[in-house]
């Protein structure tokens, strides 16, 4: 019976107030974590031996890149749940996550360009990681464009979900194909298989920033899904009560 109670929140009428209560919580968490991460990154972490102070953009850049990839998986997960179990709310979550994911992909590209200029002497190189992030950004754009082009919400949910699933199969293939194609980017800064090649404080700063971005992504998606709910369920009684 316990599992049934959890599924209660798959109903728009119960999820809307829950999301409303959770959103400020995650937003506050994001603020606190970002403040801690930035403080660690800008004031505590030591100056890099080779890259000087310019490297400090890493705290935003790496966290944004992680989030861009991670949110695509989150989006595909909700899309898959929506398609498999016919849960409208899951499909709405997928559409709500997409703009935040695209924003992080763009942020990663922009901070990468800002970092590349002083370090490599150029704004853009056709390097593996940059290119695969660019392709990821295009996949986000494609998902949003497809959903925006279809008026019927049921069809737009399902078509978007299928595209997200096709995309998530392709993301690793694209990543590795581009990696073999050309690699100039420094290797992964943090790796699970070997100890990280940087000071502990830098690692903590980056992890805090990643967590802050994660919390922000949750808060932003909850806010967006609330708006989608109001729009889609405008004909129902609970929306009239909620808006009144």
């Amino acid at each position: 019976m316990k599992s049934l109670r959890a599924f209660r929140f798959a109903s728009p009428a119960t999820f809307y107030p829950l999301a409303g209560r959770l959103q400020p919580l995650f937003a506050a968490l994001a603020l606190v974590l970002a403040a801690a991460g930035l403080w660690l990154g800008f004031f505590v972490a030591p100056t890099d031996a080779q890259q000087g102070e310019g490297y400090r953009i890493i705290f935003v850049h790496v966290a944004a890149s992680w989030m861009a990839m991670f949110l695509y998986c989150v989006m595909a997960f909700w899309a898959g749940v929506g398609l498999a179990f016919h849960v409208r709310l899951a499909a709405m979550m997928a559409s709500a996550v997409a703009p935040t994911g695209a924003m992080f992909a763009l942020l990663s590209l922009l901070t990468g360009a800002l970092w590349g200029k002083p370090m490599w002497g150029t704004w853009w190189v056709w390097d593996a990681r940059l290119t695969s992030t660019l392709v990821l950004f295009m996949l986000y754009l494609g998902f949003m464009a497809l959903q925006a082009a279809i008026d019927d919400p049921r069809r737009s949910d399902k078509a978007g979900a299928l595209l997200a699933l096709v995309g998530v199969v392709n993301v690793p293939i694209i990543y590795f194909s581009v990696r073999w194609w050309n690699t100039l980017h420094q290797g992964a800064t943090v790796s699970l298989t070997k100890s990280p090649s940087m000071a502990q404080t830098m690692l903590w700063g980056m992890l805090l920033m990643a967590l802050a971005f994660w919390m922000y992504a949750i808060a932003a998606s909850l806010g967006r899904v609330r708006n989608i709910l109001l729009e889609r369920e405008a004909h129902t009684d609970w929306v009239r009560h909620a808006v009144a």
Partner: protein, 243 residues
């Protein structure tokens, strides 16, 4: 009058049913689409002419130095093949969707996925194979030598079916959608990146004196993967579009 019409159609229908029984849904759909393509021959030549025109634009835009052209040739031919395949994709399901044939296929008591696979195979034979056959001629214009031309043809032979398979998913998703053509390009082109990388990479590896087997193997592996999943995903997308 009606008896006459019935008399005329029954043998034809029986013959079609017989063909379906003996050959299976994939073959029937393939044969039908090839027949339709043969009746509208100009469409086949449009895609092919597009391929020729686009590849001819590269030297005009970049300059006639033979060394430079030899360098960009494989990539230019591959990009042009990508775009030419894309050009034929909106037609893959659109006319069948418009006249209701697609719904009949979906409702028919045989595998919809196999019929869709037949349509994809027809798309490759009509849009992809001519490009493969035309590529050596255009490669000569870029100054590629015989060995490079051979690798180019093999890479396109493995790669263009992959393009048709992935593209069909996009064509099914954008079926009857506003701004379909541009949207289709936005959905499909990022997914074409791996095919482009390994396809043109094979020719470049050959030029650099390396073995092309790795590139072609990966291209082949992606083709097998797409063969398993693309008809299934396309069928799902078509069912969504026809709800």
């Amino acid at each position: 009058m009606s008896a006459l019409v019935e008399g005329a159609t029954v043998p034809a229908a029986a013959a079609r049913a017989g063909a379906a029984r003996t050959h299976g849904p994939l073959f029937v759909a393939l044969r039908r689409d090839l027949l339709l393509a043969a009746r509208h021959r100009s469409e086949v030549f449009t895609a092919l002419s597009f391929f020729v025109v686009v590849t001819s634009l590269f030297p005009l835009g970049i300059g006639p130095e033979p060394e430079l052209l030899r360098r960009i040739g494989p990539g230019a031919l591959w990009v042009a093949a990508l775009l030419a395949t894309l050009l034929g994709l909106p037609r893959l399901f659109a006319s069948d969707h418009a006249d209701g044939t697609l719904e009949q296929m979906a409702l028919a008591p045989r595998s919809f996925a196999l019929q869709v696979a037949g349509k994809m195979a027809a798309h490759w034979l009509v849009c992809g194979l001519p490009l493969v056959l035309m590529a050596p001629l255009l490669g000569l214009q870029f100054g590629l030598d015989a060995d490079a031309l051979g690798v180019l043809v093999v890479s396109l032979l493995v790669g263009t079916p992959l393009l048709s398979l992935i593209g069909a998913i996009g064509a099914a998703l954008t079926l009857g959608v506003r701004g379909g053509g541009a949207l289709l390009a936005l959905l499909v082109l990022p997914l074409y990146v791996p095919a482009l990388v390994f396809g043109s990479g094979a020719v470049e590896a050959q030029a650099a004196g390396l073995s092309v087997r790795a590139h072609l193997s990966i291209l082949g592996a992606m083709l097998v993967l797409a063969l398993c999943f693309a008809p299934w995903a396309t069928t799902a997308a078509l069912r969504i579009a026809m709800e």
